[in-house]
């Protein structure tokens, strides 16, 4: 939870503060306010919990209690390539948990966390609606069906390589100018 805010996020915080003032100061607004923040900044940094508590006139710990109860709220920034591993019934039966474990081991983070470079984050989801392809993992926007533990490394490698290629391309363009 103790990740530094990026400059973009600092700016978003100001935006949030402005939006916050449009909400009435009553505790019933807690969840809508948290949802608004997450829409703006994609997660709930500790700073925002404090802002919300002050605005609504309740204790920070109450905000924290409500926010941690619901699955929809996250406390870590999503990675550039969010990985969602399905653990719905079909994927569970076809050992989706092993896929999840493999991602966790390869990236050295656990489910719900983000790598320090903010490239990857892992999340578990319950059914993405393509059970025939179980077990399923979603990386970014791409659905990967019939996942196998052995495919995990390849997928991550591909993203790494794509990133490197992009960078090389960029350098080429810059030096070509």
């Amino acid at each position: 939870m103790n990740q530094e805010l990026t400059t973009e996020e600092q700016a978003a915080l100001k935006n949030i503060a402005a939006k916050l003032s449009t909400f009435e100061r009553q505790r019933g607004n807690l969840i809508p306010v948290l949802q608004m923040i997450q829409e703006e900044i994609a997660y709930l940094p500790p700073e925002t919990l404090k802002m919300v508590a002050e605005h609504l006139g309740i204790f920070e710990c109450e905000v924290y209690g409500v926010a941690t109860f619901y699955n929809q709220f996250r406390f870590r920034p999503p990675g550039k390539h969010p990985i969602k591993v399905c653990l719905g019934t079909a994927c569970h039966v076809r050992a989706g948990d092993i896929i999840l474990e493999n991602f966790e081991r390869k990236l050295e983070i656990s489910e719900g966390e983000t790598t320090p470079d903010r490239e990857f984050s892992i999340e578990r989801v319950a059914c993405v609606g393509c059970c025939a392809m179980a077990p399923v993992a979603i990386i970014g926007e791409t659905v990967h069906g019939q996942m196998a533990p052995s495919k995990v490394e390849g997928l991550l490698m591909r993203i790494e390589i794509e990133k490197e290629m992009e960078e090389r391309e960029k350098q080429k363009n810059e030096s070509g100018r």
């Binding site: 204790f59 920070e60 710990c61 109450e62 905000v63 941690t68 109860f69």
Partner: protein
Amino acid sequence: MPKLLVDNKEIEVKEGTTLLQACLDNGIYIPNLCYLESMDDPSASCRMCFVEIEGEEKPITSCTVTVKDDMVVKTDTLSVRRLHRTAFRLLLSVHHVDCKNCHVNKKCELQRIAKYLEVGLKPKHLEQHLKEPDIDQDHPFLDYYPNRCVLCGKCIHICRKKHGQSVLTFAKRGFDTVISSYGKNDVSSLACEKCVVCVDICPVGALILKEAQE
């Protein structure tokens, strides 16, 4: 004043009393962990205080029932005892049983209930499920032991009762649920070191003053 029959004993209590309170006031013990008389709306979350009431189909938690005239109640039937024991065993399956090193040893409500229900403190048929880490030292004056906590919520209730708002809260969900004191500003605003109602009310010694341990 309503008169009722509990375990063949006639008792008379004030209107509006909860059944659990009525029994406790009249020397009839029903195991309970999360109930306080000052609660307007008991949560019945410990699932310990089941009784059978004539006319009701199933056993019912006595803390959520208000006494009525001519109620006939049984507190020690087989099915009620089974519910007591099961609820208790489930609580112990997430409890780090280490009484020797626990500061409430011999004053612990769990020990009392274990003796009353004749259930061992080490669960035999259930898997142990403990939380990590074993101790939460976030609060400036209190240490919290999630593996001792029975999540009765008394500390939250009593803090809110006394201060209007509580610096303690339930956080997370399901097996991961803990009591949390998130937010440093709240704690300083209440002067916790002079209060400690939460430590005193805890039935199991999950909250403890930092200095008391040394």
